[in-house]
Each structure stands twice: as structure tokens, then as C-alpha cells.
Amino acid sequence: MGILINKDTRLLIQGITGHEGLFHTQQMLKFTIPIVAGVTPGKGGEWVLDGKVPVFDCVKTAVDVSGANTSVIFVPARAATDAIFEAADAGIKLIFVITEGIPIQDMMRIRWYLKQQQITLIGPNTPGMLVPNEIKIGIIPEDIAIPGNVGLVSRSGTLSYEIASILKSSGIGISVCLGIGGDPIVGTGFTDILDLMENDPHTEKVVLIGEIGGLEEQQAAKMISKGYTKPVVAFIAGQTAPAGTRMGHAGAIIERSSGSAQEKIEALEAAGAKIAHYPEDIPGLLM
């Protein structure tokens, strides 16, 4: 049943009454993981989605009443920092932050604080996780993939949808699709997820989708070279991006030589990963 979660997972949705929160919670309700509570300060006492999910004013009460242990955060950026700390202090142990645009100084404090308490943070700016036909946490469209044995991990949400649907059209299924988030500072990196996929019996091959900027892909390469047991196919976006240009808020910035697509590709290739130069090369490399 994917990675990170298990049969005891009970979901809490922070920002459940918002435009995005409500729409995507409704999608998530079609899947197996129970959604036991929602939080929107000022709306406690309401029930949403045809009376299926109770709303609380604060996370502490929601956890006490519902036994929630995993949170999905849809709260807008200016309130998201507070929401993350609130979840941490209420005893939540796994937090998915869908929100994009959280100030970077907040993220440094959040990451430090959560690490001290051994709380796992996925994101921010993550699309969440999808196990086709089984589990959906976040916003990944459910019909982009079919069940299978390929684990897909990505820094970019929409690019992972693109690649999942290319796999689907070639008849290749997915064991789990997870976005680590496109922001410059995220809670969980490629290596942590590769580790989980290594231990996941449903995952036999891994597709890693990176992009320019940062060192995540190089660290993944190091890990793969040290005897990673499952075959890895990698694609790096931004191969033709002009150097020195910041490509969007996704933290895709080439600020030093270690951030270029070329360097990442070389590191991954040397580590033994197969390199896809275009998304449509991936199915062939998985065969």
C-alpha cells in the first residue's frame, strides 16, 4: 500500500473548507485511507462533504477527537507556517504540505523544528502521493496512472503527471507516485524516498524526475552508486535552460556549476541510472 503510510493512517485535512481543500478532499474520499477530520479556524462544528467529515477549530482538538496522525495542508501560504507548527505540536507525525510559496526563512525554521521531533514533512509545494486505484493524498489526478510496479518520484508535480500518463499509454503501471515538492527547501529529499522505495515490495523499478538547481539529484546518484538494488531511469528537466536564469519559483536555478542539467545527468549516468533525454524515452528504458 505505497510508502510512508499504512493501515493505521488516519488523515486530517488542514484548510478543508477552502476552494482547493474541499475540492481535493472530495476526490480523496473515493480512496481507502480514512479522512477523519478537517480543520479551519473559525469553522469548527460544521460538517462538510455531505456530512462525511467533521471540521474543528484547531488541530489539537481534531487529533484528540478523531485520532488523526497524518495531515494534508491546503492552507494559503501566509497562514501555512502556523498550520505546520500547529500540526507538529498536536502530535501529527507525517505532514504533506500542498501549499506553494511559503517564505524560505519560515521553511528553514520549520525543517529544523520538525527534524528535532522526528516528524516527516513532504513538501511544501508537493502534489502529494498516489497509488493508483488505492491511495490518494493530495492533488495528483487519479486517472493519470494504472497500477503497476514502477515507483515514480519527482520534484515537479505536473511533470510527474505528464510522465505517469506517458507510462499509462504504454501500458506501464505505477506502484507509487510521489512529489517531493518544487520549493528550494523541502522536508524530504530524493534519497529518503529512494530508500523507502528500495524497501517497498510493490516497487520493482524507479523513475526519478529531476530538474536544474540544487544538489538533490547528485545526492541520489551517490546513493544509487552505493549498491541500490532496483533499476533507476532518470529524466532531468531544463537541459536547454540558459545558465544563470531562475526558472520560476520551483527553485530551479543554476547558480553554481553543480546545478546544471548536464552535471546531474553525468552523475546519474555514472551511478548506473539510465538517462531519458525526453519524457517519451522513459517507457522504452523501463522495458
Binding site: 501560504a77 511559503i102 517564505p103 544538489l215 530551479a252 525526453y278
Partner: protein, 384 residues
Amino acid sequence: MRLHEYQTKQIFNKYGIPVPRGKIAPYAGEAKQIADEIGEPVVVKAQVLVSGRGKAGGIRLAKSAKEAEEIAAYILGTEIKGLPVHKVLIEEAVIFTQEIYLAITIDREAGLPVLMASGSGGMDIEEVALRSPGKIIRLPINPLLGIQEYHARLVAIYMDLSRQYWRQFAKVLSNMWQVFRNCDASLVEINPLVITPDNRQIALDGKMIIDDNALFRQPELAEMRWLETDNSIDTESRKFGLSYIPLKGKVGCMVNGAGLAMATMDLINSYGGEPANFLDIGGGANSEKVGAALKIILSDSYVKTVLINIFGGITRCDEVARGIIAALYEIDNQIPIVVRLSGTNAKEGMQILMERNLNIASSLSEAARLAVEFSQRVPNGNTH
């Protein structure tokens, strides 16, 4: 968002980091008046957001107020590395015996602030980093604790700073941390911090970059941006929260998500075309934002075709389609537009687009191929 030197120094001054006495002058006449007030000699410094201003002739010493006026008039009439100079900073000329490099920035891999310092200040620090990396100290900082006095002592010892300067140096570093923290900066740099013959420590030059994502809680800093922006496309894309970077090709691009946008651009290149821009509409864009994005792309006269690639997740394709249609009612567009919609509400989106004669592609590679083909047609080879 980068701040100008004079803006950075206003902030330094507010936080108790000593800066040279000085004032900003938009006209040469004012430069003379300021130089008179400050006392000769003065330094005239062009306020442009490029590095290497000094070498490019943007920083010059004036021995008299009259000379300050002449230099200001000259600098205000020139361009530095392609950028026009709108203001000059007139400052007292400071005599010093020692130069130090200081910066607080973010190590994104570690997810921590990092304090960087070197006793070889003044010159190009990247050069120092390249030639003698041992001369730069890097200290990771606990983001909840900030810079403490012991950090300052560590740095001082490392760079052999004489003990008499330690207390004052610790104060500069502590104030610098306050600036970094309170202004939501991703970079605060003092280069150089100088020590004068009468033992004062002064920030001769400073640089700051503010995190764009934090501007909502930094109204005063956000204000500084509007004073400096003279590019209307820049203003427009910021207003709608779009990441837009103009490039040199003919294929205008609109994509949701930076990774997908870059993969789209890579494909355009692979078919022999060249993207005219990078444009990420972000997640959950509404029709208004999409319309604004399309108008920005079409305002570039080099654009010969537009490629819209949307894979809906949190973004809904019907919203995108509505934005495209609304924008096309407002502008008289003659160039071909290729649209590819997939994911959340893609069917509804396609339905809406039927109203206009757009080129619909069913996959990303087909969209890229079509867009490149259209962009290479001779002028007047219109498909509409």
C-alpha cells in the same frame, strides 16, 4: 527581489550597522549640494542592479563638490552593463586600514542560514572563493537561534582580527542577523566592512535580496520594488503572480509548473525551435491569470506562435480555457496558438475551446512539434 545599495544602507542604518554619511541624488545639481553638505572629498556611486559596477566605471571619487556634479552628470547619462542609471549615491570618502567580507545567505541543501566571512574583503569574493577557498569561513546557523556572540568570535579568530575589534564586530554581525531575519532576506552582504584609522567599523557597500514569497508581510520593502521597476511586463507578471522570463526564440510558452515548463522548452529545442520565454502560471491559476499570461506572451513581437501546455492537477483545464477565450476576445491575435490540455477537467476545457479556431494537440510532443512548425513558417503563412 534585489535592493539597491542605497536602499540596503537605509536598512543597515535603521538596524545600527554603521554606513558612510550620504544621500541619494536623481540630478547632477543635487549631487553638488549633497557633496557640499557632506564635505569633500566624496564618492559618486551609480545605483544599478549589476555586479562589478566599480570596474564598469560606476563608482568614482570626486575631490570637490563641483567635480561631484560633473561626475554625477556623466554617470546619470550613461548605461552600466546595459542598464540606465536613474540615481547616484553621494557619500563621504572613507579612509580605512582593513577590509572584511561578510554575508548571510541560505544553504538550500542543508536548509540553513550560513554565515560567510573572509579577511580578504573588497575584491570579487567569487574570485577569492575560486583561488583560495581556505580564506573564506562558512558557518551554518541554527535558524531558531540566530547568530550569537560566539559565532563572531569564531570568525574573528579565523580571520586574525585584532582583539580590540571583537566587541564591535560582534555587534555588526548580530545586527546583520536582525536584518536577515526581520527583512525576510535570502542574502545580506557587506563587502567590504572596513576598519578606519580611528577604529570604527563601517559597511562601505551592501547588497540585499528579499524573498519574493515573503513580500506579503514586508509592505515597506515591497514598496521599494515599485519605486524601482520601470518594466511594465515585469510589473504585470508580478501582479498576477506569474513567473515570466523573456528569452530569444519565437515560440511563446505558457505552462503550469516550472518542471513541466522546462521539459516543454527542452522539447521545443529538440524539434529545432527556440522558446521565446519561460512562463509558469503556477498551481490553481484562474481564468484571469491565464488571460494576463497570454497577453504578456503576445506583447512580445518576436513571438510567431504560442504553445499552451497545461496538465491539470490543482489547476482546472476549464478555467484555463475560459481565460484563453476571454483574452482572445480582447486582443486582435493573428498568430497560431497550439493548445494541449490534460488532467483535471480537460474535457470541459476542450469543449470551451471549440468556440475558437485553435490548434489542439493531444500530446506534449505533438504540441511542441506543431508549435515549432508554425513558428518556422514564412510570415503571412497564417493558419487561421
